[in-house]
Amino acid sequence: MNPGQTKRTLRINRQMFVRLSFFALLMFGFGYAMVPYYKKFCQVTGLNNLLQPDTVVSNTQVDKSRWVTLEFDANTHGMPWQFAPVQRSVRVHPGEMTQVAFEIKNNGGSTMVGQAIPSYGPKHGAPFVKKLECFCFKQQVLAAGESRQMPVQFVIDAALPASVTTLTLSYTFFEVPAADKKNASAPTVATGKAG
């Protein structure tokens, strides 16, 4: 192409082009490799395991000396589902096993699959809410017009700082896209193993 380029330069240039292109492709793959790596990392470190039961230290004592108010909040994201907690809030002692219920109803005209994602406030209180059983551990399938009451069983860790007197547990239901429906009727996570 260029007068100064010999055949040899052309050959080694081409080799280098192939190698560098391969490296670029490899890095494209690396971006995707971060997905399973990130999942594994979160699993091992216990970060972000929103959809698995928490484990509670076995010799938890109920701390009768103080009360904590846990408020409930329920939302749906772009779904024709009616979703609300049975009771707005509960007052509990830290360490006390408590069960509450939420109600959902599918007001849409067809069977839908939803997944609830929990969220907590304040942020620094979040690690102390230990859910042992929750409807958010599996996808929920509701036929048109079907309604259901679902339990949440939790313990507030007695290690909760004394400054926190009120916590909020909020759920949002998202519609599960068709491509990602798991065998939703069977629990995807064994809820019995915790606690």
Partner: protein, 535 residues
């Protein structure tokens, strides 16, 4: 049409072999089908300046809205779109192509090569840019307006945004392809096409910084392509990479994005270091102090840049150990950067300094980039960052390193090499005016933003509390002043090309790289067709 282009390009190539050196094709086809590194470099630089004006107008819309509290000029959605595309266009459309333009013009001339290693791929890398820019601009007219998601394009906002997001994603894909091809070209040129005797450690530092930058690009650009591809498939093909309901995680996007995003910061900064490392020795009339340590410092910065990405995400809820790791790794970058700043200052030490426009811009770079580096250190400290994350302090910080860093260095480089490129001198008095106006208005615009950020003004919001009114008014005045000063730059460059005085072959007494010592001004259309011998 495409056949015609192909034939023209073909004939052009044969023309090189058959005809005399000064033969060049005429008219539009010279540019459309050009495989000449100088033509392509020129096109990159003009494209970059055009995008700089487009992105600049967007910045002025932002500053006009922020001149007073309340909503006066634009709707909030449009404001968000402006902050997004201002960022994307300035980073991918203005600064990166500007330095690729420098690379095209200078690398073959500095290492004694006749052209880039892959001249046709070079043509393609450039001509991918205008369509990408058009997609970014067209996104403004998509139903629902531009995607106001921020240049970082965080999920889940991007997975829910309107059709403008798809145009933006495709633009990023195309820009990425262009950068990767450009980088492969640069690496191959530098490693394989140096003139005999031009050892790697004899290359001008500008070539070294580009070699390192090109590796950063090849390693990080594909990761960005992956991140936006995941966003695209989440939007349209039912995947759940970032969709919490389907088992994905929006925070994952931030990790992938910043794995690209932090090296990207150095992709912009390192060629700027290279330009300054050519300009400061030339006007100090001394060789660069600590050449080898400059090379090693640049390489260390590049390697470290892959290990610090999560310092952009201290507030997403990471464990404290992770925060500490990223904090220490980030502060570590101050060491090689400190080595570089020390070397530049030591180069000037006891030199015979003169202060022509390129030197002024290089000194402006040195002073303000270091200031931006210091605010970067402040931001790297976790407890501080948690307070000022996403405030105007961050905006001030990265404009000090992007504008006063990269852009000032690009100005320094353009004034420095303009005599070599055009064979004519720019007007020194006007050049100095351009520098002082830019320097003053830059600081008026951005220095006060530190105070706004420390007082808690959030970025990317079209309205603000009344207590921020004065500083915002000052900043907006500065921004308009800075924007108008750049029209002076356009005038200076055009005047230089059309009617500048004839430049000397070695216009700058202290310049010692071979494009100055071995080539006439203007540099011939084909240079070093027979390799020079480097002693």
């Amino acid at each position: 049409m495409s056949t015609a282009t192909h034939d023209a390009a073909h004939g052009h190539d044969h023309g090189h072999d058959d005809h005399a050196h000064e033969h060049k094709p005429y008219g539009m086809m010279r540019w459309v089908g050009s495989t000449n590194h100088k033509d392509i470099g020129t096109m990159y630089l003009w494209f970059s300046f055009t995008m700089f004006l487009v992105g600049g107008v967007m910045a002025l819309i932002i500053r006009a809205e922020l001149f007073q509290p309340g909503l006066q000029i634009v709707r909030p959605e449009f404001f968000n779109s402006m902050t997004t595309y201002h960022g994307l266009i300035m980073v991918f459309g203005a600064i990166m192509p500007a330095f690729v333009g420098f690379a095209n013009w200078l690398i073959p001339m500095q290492i004694g090569a006749p052209d880039m290693a892959f001249p046709r791929m070079n043509n393609l890398s450039f001509w991918l840019l205008p369509p990408a820019a058009m997609l970014l601009i067209a996104a403004q007219f998509a139903p629902g307006g531009g995607a106001g998601v921020g240049w970082t394009m965080y999920a889940p906002l991007t997975t829910q945004a309107g059709p403008a997001m798809d145009l933006t994603i495709f633009a990023v894909h195309i820009l990425g392809m262009s950068s990767i091809m450009g980088s492969i070209n640069i690496i191959t040129t530098i490693l394989n096409m140096r003139a005999p005797g031009m050892g790697l450690m004899k290359m001008p530092l500008f070539c070294w910084t580009w070699l390192i930058t090109a590796y950063l690009l090849v390693a990080s650009m594909p990761v960005l392509a992956g991140a936006v591809t995941m966003t695209l498939t989440d939007r349209h093909f039912g995947t759940n990479f970032f969709n919490a309901a389907g088992g994905g995680d929006p925070v994952l996007y931030q990790h992938i994005f910043w794995f690209f995003g932090h090296p990207e910061v150095y992709i912009i900064a390192i060629p700027a270091f290279g330009v300054v490392s050519q300009v400061i020795p030339a006007f100090s009339r001394k060789p660069l102090f600590g050449y080898a340590s400059m090379v090693y410092a640049t390489a260390s910065i590049a390697i470290l840049s892959f290990m610090v990405w999560a310092h952009h995400m201290y507030t997403v809820g990471m464990p404290v150990e992770t925060q500490l790791f990223f904090m220490y790794a980030t502060t570590l970058i101050a060491i090689p950067t400190g080595v570089k700043v020390f070397n530049w200052v030591a180069t000037m030490w006891k030199g015979s300094l003169t202060f022509e426009t390129p030197m002024l811009f290089a000194l402006g770079f040195l002073f303000l980039f270091t200031l931006g580096g210091f605010t970067g250190l402040v931001l790297s400290i976790v407890p501080v960052d948690v307070q000022i994350h996403d405030t105007y302090y961050v905006v001030a910080h990265f404009h000090y390193v992007m504008v006063a860093g990269a852009l000032f260095s690009a100005f320094a480089g353009i004034y420095f090499w303009l005599p070599k490129w055009t064979g004519r001198m720019y007007n020194e008095t006007l050049g100095k005016w351009h520098f002082w106006l830019s320097l003053v208005f830059f600081n008026v615009t951005f220095f006060v933003q530190h105070f706004l950020g420390l007082a808690g003004m959030p970025r990317r919001v079209p309205d603000y509390a009344l207590q921020f009114a004065e500083f915002n008014a000052i900043s907006s005045v500065g921004a308009f002043g800075f924007g108008l000063s750049q029209l002076l730059f356009l005038y200076i460059v055009l005047k230089c090309i059309c009617s500048g005085e004839k430049a000397l072959d070695k216009q700058w007494e202290g310049a010692d790289s071979i494009e100055w010592t071995m080539l006439p001004s203007p540099a011939p259309y084909h240079s070093f067709t027979t390799p020079p011998t480097i002693k």
